[in-house]
C-alpha cells in the first residue's frame, strides 16, 4: 500500500497514536483543545484503518510476520530485541484495541467537554493506545513487559486523572501497587525463561519448550518443581494482576474513580484483557503443564462466580459494570484453563465491544444525571434518553448471552468447553460459569430496570434538565452496538472453529475441547437452536425474571431479602473484606515494619549503640587517660600514626 512495506505499516500502527500523544501532551497548550483532539483522533483512526483494512486481510490471506525492529541491548552475548510478531491473534487484538480506542476518543470529545484537563486526557488515551499496541504486537518477553508496565502507567495516570480528589489518587496508587505484585511474579517468570532458554524471543522459546517439559527446579532444598509449571504460574500471577483475578482484583472496582471513557477503554475492553491475551499467546508453555492450567481454571472460576455476586449489591452504576467486568474476565480465564484459548480470546473480543458499550452508556447516563452515579436516584430515564436506553439494552442482551447476540456465542462456547473438559477443577468451574449466568442476568437487568425503567427518583432540578447526550456520545454507542449484536455470529466460525489464529495458539490434542465441539458444529443457526434448549438459557431467563420481580413488580422485595440474609448481604457489601485485610496486613504492616527498622534498627541500634556507643566508649576511655589528652590535633595525629604502624607491623609479621 502506497509502496510501503508491511514492516513499515506495522511500525506506523503504534507510531501514529504515539505521535498524537506527544503532540497533545507537549504542545497541548499551543494547539488547543480542538487541535489536541484532532491529532489524537486522526492518529488512532489511521491505526484502526491500517489494522482493520490492511493488516487483518493480509494476515487472513496467510501472511504472518516475525521480525526485529531494533536491538535494545546485549548482555552476556544474548541480544534482547524490540520486534513485532503479526499473526491472526495479534491482528485481531489490534483491530479490537484500535476500534474501541477510536470510539472512546470520539466519545471523549463530548464527555470531557468541560474538563480543564482536556488535552492531557487525549494525550493519555493516545499514549495508552500506543502502549497497548506495543504489548500485543510484541514478539518477545521484554517488549511484552514494556507494554505491560506502560499500560499500567497510563492506567495509573487516568485513574488519578482528577488529582484533587482524594479517592481518585488513592485508587490510582492502589492500582499501581497491586499490579506491581503481579508484575513481580511476571518478571521472575521472565527471568526463569531467560535462564532456562537463554533467549526472550517467543518463537525461540516455544520451539524448544517441549524439550524442557519434565525439567525441574529445586525451589528449596528437597522440593523440586516442574520448571514449566513454575514459569507458567509466575506468568499467570502477572496476568492475575492485570486482568484482575482474585485475590489481585481489588484495584479494579476502585479504578472507577477515573473518568468513564477510560473505564470503558482501559478497565473493561483492552488493558484488563492483556492478561488473557498473554496466556493465550503463551499457550505453547501452558499446554505443557496441566497443573498450571488447573490453577488458571480455578482462579478464573472463583473470579467468575464470586465477583459476579458482589455485582448484585452495588448501587453505583459504574461499579455494577465493573464487577460484571471482573466476572467476565473470570469467564475468559476459565476458558484459558480448559485450553479453549481461542474461545477465551473470542469472549475477550465480544466483551470488548459490549462492555465498552455498557460503560459508555453508563457514562451517558452520568452526564445526563449531572455526575450522579447512584442508581437509587435514577429511574425512568428511557423516555429522556432513547438512544442510550436502546443501546444499553443491546449491550445487556449481549452480556447475558441472549441467543443471537455477540455474548451468546462466546459465552456458550466457554460453557460447553468447560463441560467437555476433564482437567482437575473443571467440575467446579462448570458450576461457577453456569451459576454465573443467572447472576449476570440478574445484576444486568437490575441495572437496566433501576436506571431506565420504573418511576423517576431523582430530584426535580435534575429531572427538568434530563436530555439525551449529544451526537459525539451517541454515535459511538450506536457504532459499538452494531458489533455487540453481530460480531459473535460473524466470527465464531473463523476464530473458534476456523484457523484465523492459525499457529498462534497451540493446543495439545488431549486438551483440545474445542475440537470436540467442532465435531458437532453445524453453523450458527443450529448453534442457536441448541442454545435455547440448554440449561444456561433458562438460567438466564430466571435471572431476568428475578430482576423484573425485584425491581419492577415488587420493589420492596430487595429490602426484605437483604434483611433476611443480612450476613451474606454484609459480606457482599464489604466485598468479602479483601480491602480490610490488605489495609491491615499489608499496608499497615509494611509501615509498621518500616518504622520499626528505622527507629529501632537505624536510630537505636546502629546509631545509638554502635556509632554513638563507640563514641561513648571512647569518651569513657579518654576520661581515664585524660592526662595524655591535650586537645592538640597533632597529638591525635601522632596517636593515629602509631596505630597505623602497629597495624602494618601486625600484618607484615603476623
Amino acid at each position: 500500500m502506497f509502496g510501503l512495506s508491511m514492516k513499515t505499516i506495522y511500525l506506523l500502527v503504534p507510531l501514529f497514536p504515539l505521535g498524537g500523544a506527544l503532540l497533545a501532551g507537549l504542545l497541548g497548550r499551543k494547539i488547543g483543545r480542538s487541535g489536541s483532539h484532532t491529532v489524537t483522533i486522526l492518529g488512532v483512526a489511521v491505526s484502526f484503518a491500517l489494522s482493520a483494512f490492511v493488516i487483518l486481510p493480509d494476515v487472513m490471506s496467510g501472511n504472518t510476520f516475525n521480525g526485529t525492529v531494533y536491538t535494545w541491548g546485549v548482555s552476556g552475548g544474548i541480544p534482547i530485541e524490540i520486534g513485532f510478531l503479526i499473526d491472526g491473534l495479534t491482528a485481531t487484538m489490534m483491530v479490537v484495541v484500535t476500534f474501541v480506542s477510536f470510539m472512546v476518543h470520539i466519545y471523549t470529545v463530548g464527555y470531557m467537554r468541560d474538563d480543564p484537563g482536556y488535552q492531557r486526557f487525549f494525550s493519555y488515551i493516545a499514549l495508552f493506545t500506543f502502549s497497548m499496541l506495543m504489548l500485543v504486537m510484541s514478539n518477545n518477553f521484554l517488549q511484552l513487559f514494556f507494554g505491560w508496565e506502560a499500560v499500567g502507567l497510563v492506567s495509573y495516570l487516568l485513574i488519578g486523572f482528577w488529582y484533587t480528589r482524594e479517592s481518585a489518587i488513592f485508587a490510582s496508587l492502589k492500582a499501581f501497587l497491586v499490579n506491581r505484585v503481579g508484575d513481580l511474579a511476571f518478571l521472575l517468570g521472565i527471568a526463569a525463561i531467560y535462564k532456562t532458554f537463554g533467549t526472550l524471543d517467543y518463537a525461540a522459546v516455544f520451539a524448544i519448550a517441549p524439550q524442557y517439559a519434565s525439567q525441574t527446579l529445586e525451589i528449596v532444598s528437597g522440593v523440586d518443581w516442574n520448571l514449566i509449571t513454575l514459569i507458567s504460574i509466575l506468568l499467570f500471577v502477572g496476568a492475575m494482576g492485570k486482568s484482575a483475578q482474585v485475590p489481585l482484583h481489588v484495584w479494579l472496582p476502585d479504578s472507577m474513580e477515573g473518568p468513564t471513557p477510560i473505564s470503558a477503554l482501559i478497565h473493561a475492553a483492552t488493558m484488563v484483557t492483556a492478561g488473557i491475551f498473554m496466556v493465550a499467546r503463551m499457550s505453547p508453555l501452558f499446554e505443557l503443564s496441566t497443573t498450571a492450567l488447573s490453577v488458571v481454571l480455578i482462579i478464573g472460576a472463583i473470579t467468575a462466580l464470586f465477583m459476579g455476586l458482589i455485582g448484585l449489591v452495588q448501587n453505583d452504576i459504574k461499579r455494577v459494570v465493573a464487577y460484571s467486568t471482573l466476572s467476565q474476565l473470570g469467564y475468559m480465564t476459565v476458558a484459558l484453563g480448559v485450553s479453549a484459548y481461542s474461545a477465551g480470546v473470542f469472549h475477550l473480543m465480544t466483551h470488548a465491544f459490549f462492555k465498552a458499550l455498557l460503560f459508555l452508556g453508563a457514562g451517558s447516563v452520568i452526564i445526563a444525571m449531572h455526575h450522579e452515579q447512584d442508581m437509587r436516584k435514577m429511574g425512568g430515564l428511557k423516555k429522556y434518553m432513547p438512544v442510550t436506553w436502546i443501546t444499553m439494552w443491546i449491550g445487556t442482551l449481549a452480556l447475558i448471552g441472549f441467543p443471537g447476540f455477540a455474548g451468546f456465542f462466546s459465552k456458550d462456547t466457554i460453557i460447553e468447553a468447560v463441560h467437555t473438559s476433564s482437567i482437575f477443577g473443571s467440575g467446579f468451574a462448570y458450576f461457577s460459569v453456569v451459576t454465573g449466568v443467572i447472576i449476570t442476568s440478574f445484576y444486568s437487568f437490575r441495572l437496566l430496570y433501576l436506571t431506565f425503567h420504573g418511576k423517576p427518583r431523582m430530584d426535580e432540578h435534575t429531572r427538568n434538565h434530563l436530555k439525551e447526550s449529544p451526537l459525539v456520545v451517541t454515535v459511538p454507542l450506536v457504532l459499538l452496538a452494531i458489533p455487540s449484536i453481530v460480531i459473535g455470529a460473524l466470527y465464531i466460525e473463523p476464530i473458534v472453529f476456523g484457523d484465523l489464529f492459525g499457529n498462534a495458539i497451540f493446543v495439545l490434542p488431549e486438551h483440545d475441547v474445542l475440537a470436540t465441539l467442532k465435531e458437532s458444529w453445524q453453523g450458527i443457526g443450529q448453534y442457536m437452536a441448541h442454545g435455547v434448549k440448554a440449561l444456561p438459557f433458562y438460567l438466564m431467563l430466571a435471572g431476568w425474571l428475578g430482576a423484573w420481580l425485584c425491581y419492577i413488580k415488587y420493589p420492596h422485595l430487595p429490602g426484605v431479602i437483604s434483611k433476611k440474609f443480612a450476613f451474606i448481604y454484609r459480606l457482599l457489601e464489604n466485598k468479602y473484606y479483601f480491602d480490610h485485610f490488605n489495609n491491615i496486613v499489608f499496608a499497615a504492616g509494611a509501615r509498621l515494619t518500616g518504622r520499626l527498622f528505622w527507629r529501632l534498627g537505624d536510630e537505636r541500634l546502629i546509631d545509638g549503640l554502635a556509632v554513638n556507643g563507640s563514641a561513648r566508649v571512647v569518651g569513657w576511655v579518654s576520661s581515664l587517660v585524660r592526662h595524655i589528652q591535650s586537645g592538640y590535633v597533632y597529638h591525635y595525629a601522632f596517636a593515629m600514626i602509631i596505630g597505623l604502624f602497629t597495624l602494618i607491623t601486625f600484618f607484615l609479621h603476623g
Binding site: G73, G76, I169, L217
Partner: protein
C-alpha cells in the same frame, strides 16, 4: 596538544579551573564566576565525550594510558588509564557537574566562587579516582575528595550541618585508613609496587585475601553505603545543599562500588567468591530493610537518601553474582541511579527553594500550581520505581536476570523492589504533588522557569534514552566486564 593527555585534561582542567575561580573569589563578580564555572564544566564534559568517541570497545586493555614517575623513592607513579567501566563513570561525573552548576545558579548567593570551585575541584578528583591506575594515586584522589565535600556540607549546609559533616568525615575516614593499610601491605607483597595491574598478579593465600577484602570493604562499603554502615548518608543528604546532595548521590556513592570492581574482585578473587554470599545478603537487606525504612520517612530528602541506599543494593548484588548480566546490570544501575537520584534531589531542591521545607506534610497539591514541574517529577519518580523505558528499569532488570541464574531466591527477594520502590516513591508523590492545594504557601508557588525546565529536560532525556536504547551504554562495557569476570574466576591459591 592534549591529544595524548586527554585523561589528564579531564582531571586537571576542572581542578585548575576551580583554583582560578577561587582566585577571583569575590561575590561582587558572581555573574562572571558562574559563567566561567559553567564554561569550564562544559569544556570538561566535551573532553570526556571525546574519550567516548575515541574509545575502543573491543579491547580489555586500559586506554588513554599515561605514565610518569611521581615519588620515585617509593615507586609511586602518576599512572592513568580507563576501561569501559571507568569511561561511563567519568562521563556521568562530568555530565552531573554541569547540571550541578546550572542548578546552583540562583540559589547560591554567598561565597559563590568558593562553592563553584569546590564542585569543579571535586569533579577533577572524582575523575582522578576513576582513572588512577596506581593505588597510591587512587588513595590520594580518594582522600582528597573528602575535603571539598566536607566543606560543602559544613559551610553551605542546613542547621545540623556540623554534626552531619563530622559524621560523614569520620565514617568514611575510618574506612579509608584500613584501605591504606591493606594497600601498603599489598605494596610490599608486590615487590614495592602500587601499580594496580601488578597487584592483580600478586599471589595471596585465602586468609590474606579475606583480610584484604575486609579492609577494603570497610572503605568501600561505607562509601556506597551498604547496610549497616549507611546511617551517615541520610544525615549528610538532609544537611547538604542541593548541589552537594546531587554529587553525593549521583557520583560519590559509585566510588565505593567502583572500588569493589577495581580492587576487591581482581585482587582478592578467592575471597570475593568466598564472601559473595555475605555481600549478597547485605545487598538484599539493603533492598528490603531500607526499602521499608524509606516508606515511612517524613523528610523528602531522607526518603530519597534511603531510596539511594536501597538502589545501591542492586549494584553490590550485581557485582557479586559473577555473571555478565549481573555485573553489567550493576554498572548500568550506577549510571542510571546517577541520573535519577540527581534529578530527584534537584526536584526536591526546587521545591525547597520555594517553600523552605522538605517535610512531606508541609506539601500537597503542588500539581495545581506547578504542573510542568509535577510532570517531570512524575517521570523521575517512575524511573525511581523502575518503570520500563526509563533507565531505572535496565539495571534492575539485568541484575534480576543475573541473580536468577545464581539462585532464584536472590532474584525473588531483589524483585521486591518492584513493590517497595513504587510504594515509597509514589506514596510520597501522591502526598506532595497530588490532592487539593494544601496551604497558602503551595497556593502561591510559581512553576519552574526556563533554566529549571532545561535542567530537568536534560535529565529526562538521559533517563529516557537510556531506558529505550541502553545498547550504546552496554556496548562499551562487555569487554571490560568480561575482563573483570575472568580475573575473578582465576584462583590465586
Amino acid at each position: 596538544m592534549f591529544a595524548d593527555n586527554l585523561l589528564s585534561l579531564v582531571i586537571w582542567l576542572p581542578i585548575l579551573g576551580g583554583l582560578a575561580v577561587l582566585a577571583i573569589g569575590d561575590d561582587r563578580r558572581a555573574p562572571v564566576i558562574r559563567i566561567l564555572s559553567l564554561v569550564i564544566s562544559l569544556a570538561t564534559f566535551f573532553a570526556s565525550v571525546l574519550l567516548y568517541t575515541r574509545f575502543d570497545a573491543k579491547t580489555a586493555d586500559m586506554q588513554f594510558v599515561e605514565l610518569s614517575p611521581w615519588i620515585e623513592a617509593f615507586n609511586v607513579n602518576y599512572s592513568l588509564g580507563i576501561d569501559g567501566i571507568s569511561l561511563l563513570l567519568i562521563i556521568l561525573t562530568t555530565f552531573t557537574t554541569v547540571l550541578v552548576i546550572i542548578a546552583s545558579w540562583k540559589v547560591i548567593q554567598k561565597k559563590v566562587a568558593q562553592y563553584m570551585a569546590m564542585f569543579l575541584i571535586m569533579e577533577g578528583l572524582m575523575v582522578g579516582v576513576f582513572s588512577a591506575m596506581d593505588a597510591l594515586l587512587f588513595y590520594v584522589f580518594w582522600e582528597a575528595l573528602l575535603v571539598p565535600m566536607y566543606l560543602i556540607i559544613g559551610i553551605w549546609g542546613g542547621p545540623r550541618r556540623v554534626y552531619a559533616a563530622i559524621k560523614f568525615f569520620l565514617y568514611t575516614f575510618i574506612g579509608s585508613v584500613l584501605m591504606l593499610v591493606s594497600l601498603i601491605y599489598l605494596y610490599y607483597k608486590a615487590g614495592e609496587s602500587f601499580d594496580i595491574q601488578t597487584l592483580y598478579a600478586v599471589k595471596l593465600d585465602l586468609t590474606e585475601q579475606i583480610f584484604i577484602f575486609l579492609a577494603l570493604f570497610a572503605a568501600f562499603a561505607v562509601k556506597i553505603p551498604m547496610w549497616p554502615v549507611h546511617t551517615w548518608l541520610p544525615d549528610a543528604h538532609v544537611e547538604a545543599p542541593t548541589g552537594g546532595s546531587v554529587v553525593l548521590a549521583a557520583i560519590m556513592l559509585k566510588l565505593g562500588a567502583y572500588g569493589f570492581l577495581r580492587f576487591n574482585i581482581p585482587i582478592a578473587p578467592d575471597a570475593s567468591q568466598e564472601l559473595a554470599f555475605f555481600m549478597i545478603v547485605l545487598s538484599l537487606i539493603a533492598v528490603v530493610y531500607i526499602g521499608l525504612v524509606a516508606l515511612v520517612q517524613e523528610d523528602m530528602k531522607k526518603l530519597i537518601a534511603y531510596s539511594s541506599i536501597s538502589h545501591m543494593g542492586f549494584v553490590t548484588m550485581g557485582l557479586f553474582l559473577f555473571n555478565p548480566q549481573g555485573m553489567e546490570g550493576a554498572i548500568i544501575q550506577m549510571i542510571s541511579h546517577g541520573f535519577i537520584s540527581g534529578a530527584l534531589f534537584i526536584c526536591v531542591g526546587m521545591m525547597y527553594d520555594r517553600m523552605h521545607s522538605r517535610l512531606i506534610k508541609d506539601y500537597g497539591g503542588v500539581v495545581n500550581t506547578m504542573p510542568v514541574f509535577a510532570a517531570f517529577m512524575l517521570l523521575f519518580g517512575m524511573a525511581n520505581s523502575g518503570l520500563p523505558a526509563t533507565s531505572g528499569f535496565v539495571g534492575e532488570f539485568l541484575v534480576i536476570l543475573g541473580a536468577f541464574q545464581v539462585n532464584h531466591w536472590y532474584a525473588a527477594i531483589a524483585a521486591l523492589t518492584l513493590i517497595f520502590g513504587a510504594a515509597y516513591t509514589l506514596w510520597m508523590y501522591k502526598r506532595v504533588i497530588f490532592g487539593k492545594v494544601a496551604n497558602d504557601k503551595v497556593k502561591v508557588l510559581t512553576d519552574i522557569n526556563a533554566r529549571e525546565t532545561m535542567l530537568l529536560a536534560t535529565l529526562a532525556i538521559a533517563v529516557l534514552v537510556m531506558g529505550i536504547w541502553p545498547y550504546p551504554f552496554l556496548e562499551v562495557l562487555h569487554v571490560s566486564v568480561d575482563n573483570i569476570l575472568s580475573l575473578a574466576s582465576v584462583s590465586k591459591l
